[in-house]
Amino acid sequence: MLRKEQNELLTQTAPGTPMGRLFRCYWIPALLGDELPENDCPPVRVKLLSERLIAFRDTNGRYGLMDEFCAHRGVSLWFGRNEQCGLRCPYHGWKYDVSGQCLEVPSEPEESGFAKKVKLRSYPLVERGGILWTYMGPPEAQPPLPEWEFIMVGPSHRFTSKRLQESNWLQAMEGGIDSSHVSFLHRGDLDSDPLFKGAKGNQYNLSDPRPVFEVVESPGGLHIGARRNAEEGRYYWRITQWVMPSFTLIPPRGNHSVHGHFWIPIDDENCWTWSFDYHPTRELAAAEVAAMRDGKGIHVRTAPGTFRPVANKDNDYLIDRAAQKAGRTFSGVEGIGMQDASLQESMGPVVDRSKENLVSTDNGIIMARHRLLRAVKAFTDKGALPPGVDLAHQKVRSAAVVLPPDVPFTEGARDALIARLETAPASI
């Protein structure tokens, strides 16, 4: 349970809100690189943290992310002409560069210098690992560029997708650290999904449906360990990483790729679910990438030309009651990503946490909220840099390991939980 004011504090991320200021401490994924595929390509509308923005790539390949609306009379610059190193409003010809600086106001004499007095709010937009990242905080506090392992490996080692989720970011993110739902909601997918099946670890999952959880604070967030019985009295551990505010890394299976998510607020009632797969030491096979594009694993099929899932709330997520009854899927919704999204969206745009009844296995969620609230308070009261900004906090890995029974998993898997490029992940 969260009190109403705590719920509002964590779920509201518009400019000036405490959580909005916290999110603006981080580089966040804004667009896929493919959305701006070439110089002078069409601009793209993007809403982040309740700010409507326009992204474009100019004649020289520079990326820009700025206020969507022309400073003159408020026209959306999505209609703009991307030409000669600037985005020109088609209404009266005002033109802006990637920094939001107005370059031309055709109706005014050039000598008047009026254009120099007009500047749209803009944010840096930088390509790294196939993603365009932005930082929306004060320029003087801009941290170094992100170094998550999945964006540091080569392009052939990774695949990233994004989809619209019609719910607040927090309930989506909480699903990512709610390890106890996997044994129910996703139980039908371990042995059938091409991106999971065949791993020895799956047998531990299936033979011990009641895992025991351990939650341990990490410098950047949490380690969430799910423990199952293995051979000779040892434990099979699946260790998920959560790094503040909204990054999760799911433990790998066998030699399959490692996957994870970012949840980024669009506004208070919608978020982007970013999903990625990568392997530190091998290229992804064509069949794997094809499966990811087809919505397998944690990815989702989206309607062509959009990021809205094909299965969505307007068609009841294409629920298949016969498949539910026959046990092919537990909820009747196909695909891990949409199984999660359908239930999280069903809670309503912003779930009322004053009515929930958490139980002991929800300690990962409780601890994450606890840490977020602490971080917001420390940042608001003292300007303390929140966890997850430090690059060292980003160099993490999830892991699947077998350990002796009395070993703290953070000790037994110490090396496995640190990202070291070109070393294999700990996986079973």
Partner: protein
């Protein structure tokens, strides 16, 4: 049906009854913390210390009055075991067995873990793990209070 506009039609009636939670300090360091938490005043939670009494099937409340372990467990929805790294957490076994017999949910807390030696943490984990369906290793003393609020204690 999941729009913001539809949210106002949700049933507003209470959807649960209060849960009974028992918080048990297993060692001295944990006892100091449990006393501090208890001082905040909780309507559905009772606080105890275990020490050597659990071997005799007894607990003590924070005023030192002894009580039957099985009686306290019988009406509990959740038992929270609190221990510090390297402390004497042997009581976890007797309490955990009583909870297991009555199918009562248990959560083990290891508090003050920041900077603890691995050997001390391992020792406490070895005592807590077999009897806890959830284990939390926290660096912050105020987490238990937050968890209890979250669980409607």
């Amino acid at each position: 049906m999941s729009s913001a506009a539809e949210a106002r039609f949700r049933v507003q009636a209470p959807n649960s009854l209060p849960r009974a939670i028992k918080v048990i300090a297993l060692d001295q360091a944990a006892e100091a913390m449990v006393r501090q938490i208890a001082s905040a005043g909780w309507s559905n939670t009772k606080f105890f210390t275990a020490g050597d009494r659990s071997g005799r099937g007894r607990l003590a409340d924070l005023a030192g009055h002894e009580t039957e372990l099985t009686g306290e467990i019988a009406d509990a929805d959740l038992v929270v075991l609190v221990a510090a790294p390297g402390g004497r957490a042997e009581a976890a076994g007797a309490i955990g067995q009583a909870c297991s017999d009555r199918r009562v949910m248990t959560t083990g807390f290891i508090v003050g873990a920041r900077g603890a030696a691995e050997v001390e943490l391992s020792k406490t984990l070895a005592q807590i793990r077999p009897w806890s369906l959830m284990v939390v290793i926290s660096n912050h003393d105020d987490y238990i209070s937050d968890m209890m609020i979250a669980l409607r204690a």
